[in-house]
């Protein structure tokens, strides 16, 4: 029983990372029809931004506070990078799907190479507060606190994102835009501002995911985000394009299936099981679990 609890909580931590990477991807595709293949690079940027703060910013006393600053810096880095990428690059290719694919693939490769050139390709472990390495007893299992931390941060950001979508004017425009972008324009609303904002929010979430992923995976390397991107795409499709709640549900499903099958089946089979889950959902519900609705 304790092993099952441990694997499940570890899976939920991974679900948190998948959600952070996939939520922005889903909103970006739902609102703008842009398949952002560079999204994994935002994850890497966040991881290295956090590593820089934790490794170099010794003016902040105490690793706990420094980790908080590291996550905030990662968030700001991702937000800025997302906004810049949308304004300077992606905005020039709306409607040109092939151009977008080539642009974002190229950007993803370039950013990974930039990170590799700057920091090397070996994983760099994050200095962490001792509490992260400790465990918390839960239903007979001793669960690493780092897993609980990832899960808690992802849950808070999920709630914050839902509040933003449901309670703000920008959120209203984004939800409507996911459903019918042309009609939003026909109401006199400049959707391009929402495009930039969604890209920036997507960058923020992925970068926070990168900072937490560096804890979860015991280090950050330039290609870590890109390697997780395939699972993020599976989460987006299963959850339903543009649906934040669907993304959260799908992230939990995918991560749990992956972890449990990998443990109780054989290592690596969990990845195949995830593809099987994708096939089943697409056959039963081609629009994904919660369809194309930003909620």
């Amino acid at each position: 029983m304790s092993t099952f609890v441990l694997i499940t909580v570890t899976g939920l931590g991974l679900a948190g990372l998948y959600f952070l990477l996939a939520a922005g991807l889903s909103l970006i595709f739902g609102l703008m029809d842009v398949l952002n293949l560079a999204h994994g690079a935002f994850f890497g940027l966040g991881g290295y931004a956090a590593w820089l703060v934790l490794d170099r910013l010794d003016v902040v006393a105490g690793l706990g506070w420094r980790f908080l600053v590291a996550v905030l810096v990662a968030a700001a880095t991702g937000f800025t990078a997302g906004a810049l990428v949308e304004r300077l690059l992606v905005a020039r290719s709306y409607g040109d799907h092939l151009g977008q694919v080539l642009l974002t693939i190229g950007l993803g490769f370039a950013l990974v190479a930039l990170l590799g050139g700057s920091f090397g390709y070996d994983a760099r472990p994050l200095p962490q507060p001792a509490w992260f390495g400790a465990t918390t007893p839960l239903l007979g299992a001793r669960v690493p606190n780092s897993r609980l931390l990832v899960l808690a941060v992802a849950a808070v950001l999920f709630a914050a994102l839902l509040l933003f979508l449901r309670r703000t004017r920008h959120g209203l425009v984004i939800r409507a835009g996911v459903e019918n972008r042309a009609m939003v324009r026909a109401l006199g609303i400049d959707v391009s501002r929402s495009f930039t904002l969604v890209f920036a929010i997507g960058g923020l979430l992925a970068a926070v995911g990168g900072a937490l992923g560096a804890v979860y995976f015991n280090g950050i390397n330039p290609a870590l985000g890109t390697s997780q991107l395939i699972f993020a795409f599976i989460v987006v499709v299963i959850g339903g394009l543009g649906s934040v709640t669907g993304t959260a549900v799908a992230a939990v499903l995918v991560a749990l299936v992956q972890q449990l099958v990998n443990y109780y089946g054989a290592a690596g089979v969990g990845d195949i099981a995830v593809v099987g889950l994708l096939a089943v959902v697409l056959l039963a519900r081609p629009q994904g679990l919660l369809g194309a609705v930003a909620r």
Binding site: L172, R175, A176, E179, M183, R185, A186, L187, G188, D190
Partner: protein
């Protein structure tokens, strides 16, 4: 002082007659649009005069909806489109709409996942919208009662009310209305016509309508499209008085019932 004013209905009729002589709110000249390889609009010319309802008629596929979408900038086209004398072809849709265009699309296109209240909140783009919301609720009491209901769960008629309400929330120079009675039950059609009559009291309307009875009730002017070209333009009463001409242009017999007032439907003093 009030005794010196003309009666409201008379004032509206006079405004409509004066509007016919005034510079058009909307001018379309030599408009060409291609969609999916087809040359849908082949040099459309039309003018919509202030304080009048102009019906854009034609058989299915004649290019009526395409004309509205091109005017709004939702489809690319070549030629000239002028709003209040200013060239607007190529102006981004959102900016063009903010100059004072309301749009009621074909098939309603309400945001189904949003509530009624959210649909209306999204459409409110002017300071007057808050005050006009009360009037819109007076016009469509159903929307007030269902303000927390998701728009996707409304009936077709209620969705049409919401689509019209969105357009009426802001004061507009021009209202583009695309087949507002399509697929609606007769009782609901009467409500929609009444709402559009009220709207026409304060703004200029370009109306696409397949239901000739409705077009006759509302329109003062007509433009008939055929295969992407203007086949007829003139006053509505003149066209509908000639069943043979209606049959030749539209392939149907003329609408029964009395014609609308000069300039098209209007209820002077009605709000909004």
């Amino acid at each position: 002082m009030s005794g010196a004013r003309p009666a409201p209905a008379t004032a509206a009729a006079e405004a409509a007659v004066a509007g016919a002589a005034a510079p058009p709110v909307l001018e379309v000249h030599d408009l060409h649009v291609r969609r999916g390889g087809a040359h849908v609009l082949q040099g459309v010319d039309l003018a919509v005069h202030p304080h009048r309802v102009t019906a854009l008629l034609g058989r299915n596929g004649a290019g009526k909806t395409t004309t509205l979408l091109a005017v709004l900038g939702l489809l690319p086209g070549t030629g000239r489109v002028r709003l209040d004398g200013e060239d607007v072809l190529g102006v981004p849709t959102a900016r063009l709409v903010r100059r004072g265009i309301g749009y009621v699309p074909e098939d309603r296109e309400v945001f189904g996942a949003l509530t009624v209240a959210e649909n209306l909140r999204l459409a409110a783009r002017t300071p007057q919208a808050a005050e006009r919301l009360d009037r819109v609720h007076e016009l469509f009491p159903d929307l007030r009662q269902r303000h927390r209901q998701r728009a996707g769960t409304l009936s077709g008629g209620q969705q049409q009310m919401l689509a019209i309400a969105r357009a009426l929330l802001n004061p507009n120079r021009l209202l583009l209305v695309d087949e507002p009675t399509k697929g609606l039950a007769p009782a609901v059609v009467a409500d929609v016509v009444a709402a559009l009559q009220r709207a026409a009291a304060e703004t200029t309307v370009l109306l696409v309508e397949q239901n000739l009875r409705v077009a006759r009730q509302l329109a003062g002017d007509v433009v008939v499209l055929d295969h992407g070209r203007v086949a007829h333009r003139g006053d509505a009463a003149g066209l509908f008085a000639d069943p043979g001409r209606v049959a030749a242009l539209l392939g149907v017999s003329g609408p029964p019932g009395p014609p609308g007032p000069p300039g098209g439907a209007r209820t002077a003093g009605a709000r909004p």
